[in-house]
Amino acid sequence: MAAPPVTAFVRAFLRLLTVQACFNYERMIGVGLGYAIEPLLRALPGGRDGPGYREAMQRSTHYFNAHPYMVGLAAGAVARAEHDGVPGAQVERLRTALVGPLGAVGDRLIWAGTLPAASAVGLALSANTRAGIGAAALLALYNVPHLVLRVWGLVAGWRHGTALGRALAAPLLRGALTVVGPLAAGAVGFALPPVTARLVGPLDLAAWIAAAAGVGLAVVTLRFAAPRLGALRLALAAAATVALGAAL
């Protein structure tokens, strides 16, 4: 087996950064995966004119969905399977089997962990430091693990191929999944007092009462009365009420 050159991995990595560019309701990010994986398939026997490349490309844009940062694992594993001469039907099954786990792991690790934690630290710093520090902290705290995860995914996917389960069982990844939720909850809790002090602190007593009413309204509505309404729509409804009251 002739492994793809390093430049092919760099190209695939850069293309993976746009993996959701053509997100659609039919193939989800299948086209993005096909676009990203192509440089890794050029080293198949016969090159771009060979039957291996042609057949692999025919499979490459079929339905696929996962967390975007975890797609590198699928790209690496599928490319490795194609290089190892795994039958096409088995490659298709591998793609299908990866959809659930890569989505679940990525969503929990990133959307419900790293992102809210970085956001909360950014909020806390914005409340207490010079303008820009909080935003810069959010970007730094988020993007270091983000980019590391993307690079690791592509390399680990290629290394493990069809035995990708081993990469998903890596102790560091399992450990991160365990701590990231509580860490994010703690970070959000940490941000609440300084953010409250910054946003409401300088206001008068009537505004404090209005803010407390807003907290109560959010908790009662979003926790008990209408959880599916969403904070955004609740806030718009409250704003419309205030504007109407002021106009009358």
């Binding site: 950064l17 746009t18 959701q20 560019a21 053509c22 997100f23 659609n24 309701y25 039919e26 989800m28 993005g32 676009y35 490309m57 844009t61 940062y69 969503d107 419900a112 956001s119 909360a120 806390a124 914005s126 303008a131 909080g134 935003a135 959010l138 970007l139 983000h146 939720g181 509580p182 994010a184 909850a185 703690g186 959000v188 809790g189 609440l192 007092p193 300084p194 300088p202 206001l203 008068d204 505004a207 209005a210 803010a211 009413a213 907290v215 309204l217 959010a218 908790v219 979003l222 904070a231 955004l232 609740l234 806030a235 718009l236 409250a238 704003a239 205030v242 504007a243 009251g245 106009a247």
Partner: protein, 222 residues
Amino acid sequence: MSALTFAVLVTWGVITGIDLVSVLQSMVARPLVAATVAGALVGEPVTGVLVGMMLELYALEVLPVGGARYPDYGPAAVAATVAAAGGGPETLGVGVVVGLLVAEAGAWSIQVLRRWNTRRVRAAAVPLDAGDFRVIQRVQLAGIARDALRALLLTTTGLALAVAARRWWPVSPRAGVLLTAVLAGIGLGTAMLNGKRLAQGRRGLVWMSIGVAGGLGWLLLR
């Protein structure tokens, strides 16, 4: 607002818009980042930070999983900062309302974009299934162009709304302060609920309480 400032704001809005899903996802689309930069661009960094903080509390609610419907807070934060600029707490609420409206319009625009993408992918199904790389590349890169167009329209509409809101907002300065307070309260309540949800159950409550105690300590010691 000068034409140059407008052009720079629109460019920034487009960058944040495509960052949300299509390109990189580095989180410059987060309202805290988008509004902080927009504030610096219009010469009001503190307003940008405050608008960004308010909208970030709401954005904590969003879990952008799979094909879910979620707001686009990047262009929204740019418009919100422009709407809030030049005032104090009495205009901050106006900015947040503009931001929330644009973010909601952004959620709708993402669905329109995905349906558009679906039609283009369906039209190219035969060459895609034949593994024609030139078509794969064209379909994929056209997706970025479509998203950039979406973000451009969203930002431009948002900025127009921001200017209109500043000119014709029917709320007195006093009511504006109360509006800011109510919206801050709803945002804080939302953040509380979502902080607890992140670790789930009693464990989440314990971790969040530890965090709150730490935040209070930091607040008292600073």
